[in-house]
């Protein structure tokens, strides 16, 4: 079905594809940045930039999957899940003396567990995703603070763990090459080529139709939230390897970035429509933008507002495109 649909697409369809627009935007943004700063196009700088994008890229991927699953799906708790998983990894490594790799593995499982709390409340009990993940946003964030008393944890510097966050293979940062890239490749493949991808879109488009087609919608959505939690925890592992400390505020505010990237990437907020490859392009845009603003010495507090504008602008854009195609 997918292949014939692709074959039938006209040139006009291809040009109006969100991904073409995003790719042009990446290039345009890159051109502007390289004019503004001579450092921008240097290979070292481009690679360091992708390092920064690894963590929010993982969060955005989980977010996009949850939104694609439909029925108002959203995960506001990703930032706090990252914080809490990172702290749990710190407790395992520093207080229990586990090796960093084992602690990382357990932290990812723990992140999945946190996601399953969201998933059970949303998919099984049928509670609204917005309010469930808003309360776990505060719950997990507060727990991270409580567990450390506001301080930070360490104990990750061993067994070559720091290499995950601080080294490069063939010039590409390790966490991008070994974590972010495989995750996106896997997700894009799964979305386009597997039955999981088809079920995801069917469930996201119509609950009822998917149910009638024999899809266990509840279980599918539960899995999406578990996946989002585990990906956020993977983000925590990467952060811990990068900074070698776990801070309880590590993920604060990252839900904004994750949601912005997903919406900018063309994921329809009502579910069922959008490409994960678009999310990857949107990630590139947000990373280039943040990095450029950093080079221009625009502080984090101001960047938050710019990201907010990007989110609102992207949502407006999605509506415009959606309305035109449905009209």
């Amino acid at each position: 079905m997918t292949t014939t649909a692709v074959a039938r697409r006209s040139l006009r369809d291809r040009v109006s594809d969100r991904r073409v627009f995003l790719a042009v935007l990446v290039l345009a943004l890159g051109a502007v940045m390289s004019l503004l700063s001579p450092y921008f196009l240097q290979v070292g700088n481009l690679l360091a930039m992708t390092q920064y994008g690894a963590v929010i890229g993982l969060l955005a991927l989980g977010q996009a999957l949850v939104i694609l699953g439909g029925r108002g799906g959203i995960d506001l708790s990703v930032g706090s899940t990252l914080s809490l998983s990172g702290i749990v990894m710190g407790l395992l490594a520093q207080n229990l003396g586990l090796g960093p790799w084992l602690a990382a593995l357990l932290a990812v499982a723990f992140g999945g567990l946190l996601g399953s709390v969201n998933g059970l409340l949303i998919a099984r009990l049928g509670l609204p995703p917005l309010i469930v993940t808003l309360s776990t946003l505060f719950l997990y964030g507060a727990l991270a603070q409580v567990l450390t008393g506001g301080g930070q944890l360490g104990g990750f510097d061993g067994q070559g763990f720091a290499a995950l966050g601080q080294s490069a293979i063939l010039g590409v940062p390790t966490q991008v090459l070994l974590v972010l890239a495989p995750m996106y490749a896997l997700a894009i493949w799964a979305q386009n080529r597997t039955s999981f991808g088809r079920r995801l879109h069917q469930a996201g488009t119509s609950d009822r139709a998917a149910g009638l087609a024999g899809i266990d919608v509840t279980r599918l959505r539960l899995r999406l939230y578990v996946l989002s939690g585990a990906l956020a925890a993977l983000g925590a592992v990467v952060t811990n390897a990068w900074l070698l400390t776990a801070r309880p505020s590590a993920g604060t505010g990252m839900e904004l970035q994750a949601i912005t990237i997903a919406v900018l990437g063309g994921i329809d907020i009502f579910g069922g429509r959008g490409h994960l490859s678009g999310v990857l392009l949107a990630l590139a845009i947000v990373v280039v933008l943040s990095w450029g603003l950093q080079l221009a010495q625009v502080g984090n507090s101001v960047q938050t507002g710019i990201l907010g504008l990007v989110l609102v602008g992207a949502a407006l854009l999605n509506n415009l495109i959606g309305r035109r195609s449905s009209a």
Binding site: I74, L121, L125, G126, L127, P128, L130, I131, V132, L134, S135, T136, L137, F138, L139, G141, A142, L143, Q145, V146, G149, G150, L256, I259, T260, V263, I269, F270, S301, V302, T304, G305, I306, L307, G308, L309, L311, V312, A315, L316, N319
Partner: protein, 330 residues
Amino acid sequence: MSTTALSPATEPSARVLTLLRDALLPLLLVAEVIFFGLAAPDFLSASNLANVVINSADLALLAAGMTLVVLLAGIDVSVGPMLGVVAWVGATLFVSGLPPVLVVLASVLLGGLLGAINAGLIVGGRISPIIATLGTAAVFKTVLFVLWDSTDVFAGPVLPVLGPARAGGVPLVGLVVLVAFGIFAYVLRRRVFGRRLFAIGNDAEGARLLGVPVGRTSFAAYVLVGALVGLAALIYVGRVGVVQATAGQELTLPAIAAVVVGGTSILGGEGGVLRTLGGLVFIALLQNGVVLMGVPPLWNGVLVGLAVALAVAFDVVTRRTLDKRIGAQK
């Protein structure tokens, strides 16, 4: 108790469930007062209770506004940062010598204007409320940060009724809150605007077909939230005495929590401001009692988060069970 009542095996009657739902918050409030009254001796003293009122008056107005948009099945997660922006502007105008009445007017107007931005995006731009207000929340945070510019603004209460002043031990600001809730309770029950909010929250398409101006009513609701934030911002200034870079940001979740714990359905179309007042009292007493018991304030987020999750779970599960009962009777 509630778990057995909820399990389908026991088949509780719709009346029992409705009763349980309506009586839950009063019961919880009584249990809370008894618990903290025994655990923290100062809890029930008149001066402590007056403190609770003074410390939660700004939150109360935010929660009243939040109730309006939750009734519409919407939400506004920008109220905290919005309050910060208005508080900075209000405090700065007041310090610069503008007459208090004009400061109040300017703050309410500015709040309404910021609310109109949300309204424009949600109603005009057809963006889902969470995305729109998440975006404007980020923008408001940045606006406050830029305005603040590394200088805290110190200011006293703009008017005595917007500060910690008491008359015979009764905090005046509590009267402002009661008047505001009284007005909104009346409007929601008796005025056309109020009934329209319920109609839209229940079924927006149905309401539109019946001739309810859905867009205009929703727009007005988000503007009203902003106006209430404007008033709350001045109460915040009177309470805290200083506007810093992150002023107000901690108030968003408690405001939503008060609405949800009060029993206004997050799915829209059911609830009211008086329930929110009950929810607010529960949250305010919880935060106060926990502090009096010597629990570190870091735990506040955990407790409020848990309260919201439990309240929503209870609301949605009872509502669905009731809907099923009604369906079965038809």
